[in-house]
Symmetry: C2
Subunit: 203 residues, 2 copies
DNA sequence: GTCTATAAGTGGATAGAC
DNA sequence: GTCTATCCACTTATAGAC
């Protein structure tokens, strides 16, 4: 049923598996709160292999940060390139990009490591990475989307709230707590079911 | 010059000292990223004493969460009780409360543990505390301040952005990075100098 | 490409002296 | 009220076999 030794798989592919697993675990438990062994178990391999593949826990996390930032930037640029956006004013554009962000969030745990990274300002290496990533997104929204600083601020603020609700696992209270339900509905809007009833596509 | 053994001080007072120190350290490094020894050093006492005083690291952190929530609620209620607020519409009220929040943030590191707690949704005990605290604030803003769910959402979103900029230590880039300067100015507004040039009052 | 074994270090908590 | 000493569990990382 379960094999104690993993199938032999090309390194590049295994690397992606580990990154996926790591994004989930780090996204949920944070950098310091996650052990390399938890990542290994989530990826179905041994702990030393995780370390060997990325050199260190820190490097693995930085990799995650880069990946999350790239996904986000790619997604935002794709949204900006759509024809509908021509017809939108900045207010409408902000909403449109906001929906694109929620879509990305709902698709998996790619962005939560970013949210966790934002708490690591004190760390000499990860902190620098995280600040750079944050400012990159800021500039993208300002220069490529053409939003004013205030509009960018409001967009980012909304994103931070969504991140917080997710890492708080407020979504778990949706059924049982009326206040939570109201807040979640208001924050996620029409995209609510992406986070309260995460659809696992059939394989 | 420095005494290796601390002065003998009443427990209640020592308790406050430890809580202050712990708020700083936990606020900066997060729950898992902080050791009880770091707290002890910040408070100028021995590590076992910290544990003994609060029973465990977890209980100490929960205490911090409660304290931060109380401070925040007290501050918001005080703001709501001021005479000027009568003349404000909801938009103005939101801004007024926002300034009250920044004041509290600028006064010390009382609220950052809250921000760190919001990342601990996965933890069975701390997660519950943090969610409850978050919903408490939500209800206060909705029921006592009379804001609509959307207005509360926007207020909270703004707060989450401020928290993020703080824990990211973006303020450290104020001098050197133009983008960071623009973003910080936009996010903190007139209260900017509370966070970029923290004034330590002379004793 | 992947594992087992393990070294080396760290951290929370307890016991007991003063 | 506060410390020193210390235990034990856990964690990252390395070595080396297969």
């Amino acid at each position: 049923m379960s094999e104690s030794r993993s199938e032999r798989i090309p390194a590049a592919e295994r690397r992606e598996q580990i990154l996926d697993a790591a994004a989930r675990v780090f996204g949920e438990r944070g950098y310091a709160g996650t052990t390399t062994d938890q990542v290994a178990q989530a990826a179905g391999i041994s702990q030393p292999y995780v370390v060997r593949m990325f050199g260190s826990k820190e490097k693995l996390f930085c990799e995650l940060l880069l990946r999350a930032r790239d996904s986000l930037e790619t997604r935002l640029r794709a949204a900006l390139a759509r024809p509908e956006v021509k017809a939108l004013d900045n207010q409408g554009l902000k909403r449109f990009l906001g929906r694109a962000y929620v879509d990305l969030v709902g698709e998996g745990d790619i962005v939560l490591p970013l949210a966790q990274g934002f708490l690591l300002g004190h760390d000499p290496v990860i902190g620098r990475y995280a600040r750079e990533g944050f400012l990159d997104i800021y500039r993208l929204l300002r220069d490529e989307a053409g939003l004013s600083p205030e509009e960018v601020r409001d967009f980012l603020a909304g994103g931070m709230l969504l991140n917080t609700l997710l890492t708080l696992q407020m979504t778990g209270l949706y059924e049982s707590d009326e206040t939570a339900r109201e807040l979640l509905a208001c924050a996620f809007g029409e995209k609510l079911d992406l986070v309260v009833a995460p659809t696992k596509a059939a394989p």
